[in-house]
């Protein structure tokens, strides 16, 4: 082997060796004993799978069930990596819709595995519980998954005249839940029709609300107030039945989706009876 080839082979061998030495497993280790959840719905999923005891910290917004309120908080949109490290977790679980783009790099640097779970649609909730439960080795994983699957199946309705429903997440300007969202999925299975045509969370036109008022307007009970909804409907001259719903149940794709669907069915049934 002549000079340059020798150099290349040696250099390649060194790089391969270096890569092998430095390669870190990014998948969760076998026995997870300590976990940090970075989203309220992920916290609820871990609890539903039967691993509440393994949670050593959560994001600032996790507040359900009551017991997780007292756990150490590691931040909001930008979690504090130092605090995460200090809690010595074996695994960090985040939701794909709320994960900071640099979080994986930051956790890689401290050799902490990160599990990112997709939960943006209703159909993703049961698989998410399965995935989290399996990664954490939770005892009630399969029963939690079937509870959700059967629970949602039970809430499935076909309505002869599907009421048009608008879900207002903010009133000034009016932001609504559009198609291809978790809320839209809840409407689909309970036999309601989303009054919004656009996808995502668009700003909705006041005159569209005035010209084609929905049959029902739902709003999250924490961020939107009844006077704000009244003002909006007055502005649009729209006579619409407005109902406040539990914000955390209706905006967190987690184990309580069955409660959201049941509540929605109750509201829709009541509306049908009165019309």
């Amino acid at each position: 082997m002549n000079g340059p080839w020798k150099f290349i082979v040696h250099r390649s061998a060194f790089i391969v060796l270096l890569a092998l030495c430095c390669a870190r497993p990014t998948s969760p280790p076998h026995a997870v004993r300590r976990v940090i959840s970075l989203a309220p719905n992920i916290t609820e999923i871990i609890v539903a799978a039967g691993c509440q005891a393994k949670i050593v910290g959560t994001d600032n917004f996790s507040d359900y069930p009551e017991a997780v309120k007292g756990l150490p908080k590691v931040g909001g949109v930008e979690p504090d990596v130092e605090q995460i490290v200090a809690l010595r977790p074996d695994l960090v679980v985040a939701s794909a819709s709320g994960v900071h783009p640099n979080l994986r790099r930051a956790l890689d640097a401290v050799h902490l595995p990160l599990l990112v779970i997709r939960t943006d649609r209703l159909s993703a909730v049961a698989p998410a519980i399965g995935e989290v439960g399996q990664a954490l080795g939770c005892p009630s994983t399969s029963s939690a998954v079937s509870l959700i699957t059967i629970g949602l199946q039970k809430q499935r309705r076909m309505r002869t005249h599907p009421p048009r429903v608008l879900f207002a997440v903010w009133t000034d300007p009016l932001y609504v839940a559009g198609r291809a969202t978790f809320v839209d999925d809840l409407f689909s299975i309970t036999g309601a029709r989303n009054a919004v045509e656009a996808n995502g969370w668009p700003q909705y036109s006041l005159e569209a609300l005035a010209a084609h008022p929905p049959d029902l307007l739902l709003y999250p009970n924490h961020s939107v107030t009844a006077p704000a909804v009244d003002a909006l409907l007055r502005r649009a001259h729209a006579k619409v039945v407005a109902v406040a719903v539990d914000e955390n149940v209706f905006t967190r794709p987690g184990p309580r989706v069955t409660l959201a669907a049941a509540e929605l069915n109750r509201i829709l049934d009541q509306w049908e009876r009165s019309h």
Partner: protein, 327 residues
């Protein structure tokens, strides 16, 4: 230019821009997300009446007033500071308003209707006062110091806004974003009346000092030599422009581009005399914002896009073509 020839020279442009504004207002009240007709509204159809008279018309008129307010403030700042980059926002007026809006959102006040607007207006006024105190040097307000103070205060406001956003409840962020993006959503007749008073009074005051403001184009010393009370005129011009900007921003949030470029557009087409520039800028700003708001409403069927994007989309090609043609 003599006093007798002035009216004739500006009658043409004023008539043209007034026609343009009327055309824009008719278009803006004819098209929208809801398919309703003027005929149905006049025949008494309640939905058509609600859409046309209570939603579309006040919104179109409010857009006109905000466009006029921003353009009037822009042309005044540019002339007084003799700086083509000066606009209602560079002196920290918008930054102050946005800061007020962001902080009140972080405090959870966004759920009380109207409160954020009031705080935003106060923020704009406080920012203007602060910029003036910082720029004051003995009896004289130095334009460079004024611009620098505005720049520095804007940086401070940005910092406060970022912190306020980080501390705001996630569910209330829409209210804060409303200010940063600017929107005419939910315009009411009382907004129109209130801002109408601000714009009318500001225009009247600025027209009375227009002849003196015009002298600033020759430089401050020259203006002084021609007998202009530079200090007084500067003070009146800045304060009036800031108040009218603050009122506009309090209603709609920050809508960019109008205040900066409408005066330049007018200068490129017609003339540089402030007495002519002022009313023409008002009409031009009003027309541009009415058309931009119309575009933001009808671009998608029942959802809306940020109006600030459309002021630039409509104005930039027009401006660039004029710039190319003018040597």
């Amino acid at each position: 230019m003599t006093g007798s020839s002035r009216p004739r020279r500006i009658i043409g442009p004023i008539a043209l821009l007034t026609g343009g504004l009327l055309f824009a207002l008719i278009a803006a009240s004819t098209f929208g997300a809801a398919a309703v007709s003027w005929r149905a509204a006049l025949a008494g159809d309640p939905t058509a009446r609600a859409v046309l008279f209570d939603i579309r018309l006040p919104r179109a008129l409010l857009a006109a007033l905000i466009g006029a307010a921003l353009a009037v403030a822009g042309v005044t700042f540019q002339t007084l500071l003799r700086n083509p980059l000066a606009d209602p926002f560079i002196l920290g007026v918008s930054g102050g308003a946005a800061c007020g809006a962001a902080v009140s959102t972080a405090l959870g006040w966004a759920r009380i209707p109207g409160l954020v607007s009031v705080v935003a207006f106060l923020g704009a006024l406080a920012a203007t006062a602060a910029v003036f105190l910082l720029a004051r040097r003995r009896e004289y307000t130095d334009p460079t110091r004024l611009l620098l103070s505005g720049l520095v205060l804007n940086a401070l406001f940005s910092a406060v806004i970022l912190i306020a956003f980080a501390l705001s409840p996630q569910s209330d962020l829409a209210a804060a974003v409303r200010w940063m993006m600017g929107t005419l959503f939910g315009a009411t007749w009382s907004d129109v009346a209130l801002l109408g008073v601000f714009v009318a009074v500001s225009m009247a005051i600025l027209m009375t000092i227009a002849n003196d403001v015009r002298m600033f184009a020759f430089g401050v010393d020259d203006a002084k030599a021609r007998g202009v009370d530079v200090e007084r005129i500067q003070r009146i011009g800045f304060v009036v422009s800031s108040i009218v900007t603050g009122a506009a921003v309090a209603v709609s949030g920050i809508i960019g581009f109008v205040g900066l470029l409408v005066p330049h557009l007018i200068r490129l087409i017609w003339r540089r005399d402030f007495r002519v520039l002022l009313p023409l800028s008002a009409l031009g700003g009003a027309t541009l914002l009415v058309l931009a708001d119309l575009a933001s409403r009808v671009a998608l069927s029942s959802s809306e896009l940020p109006v600030g994007a459309f002021t630039a989309i409509l104005g930039v090609p027009f401006f660039l073509s004029l710039l190319r043609r003018s040597r």
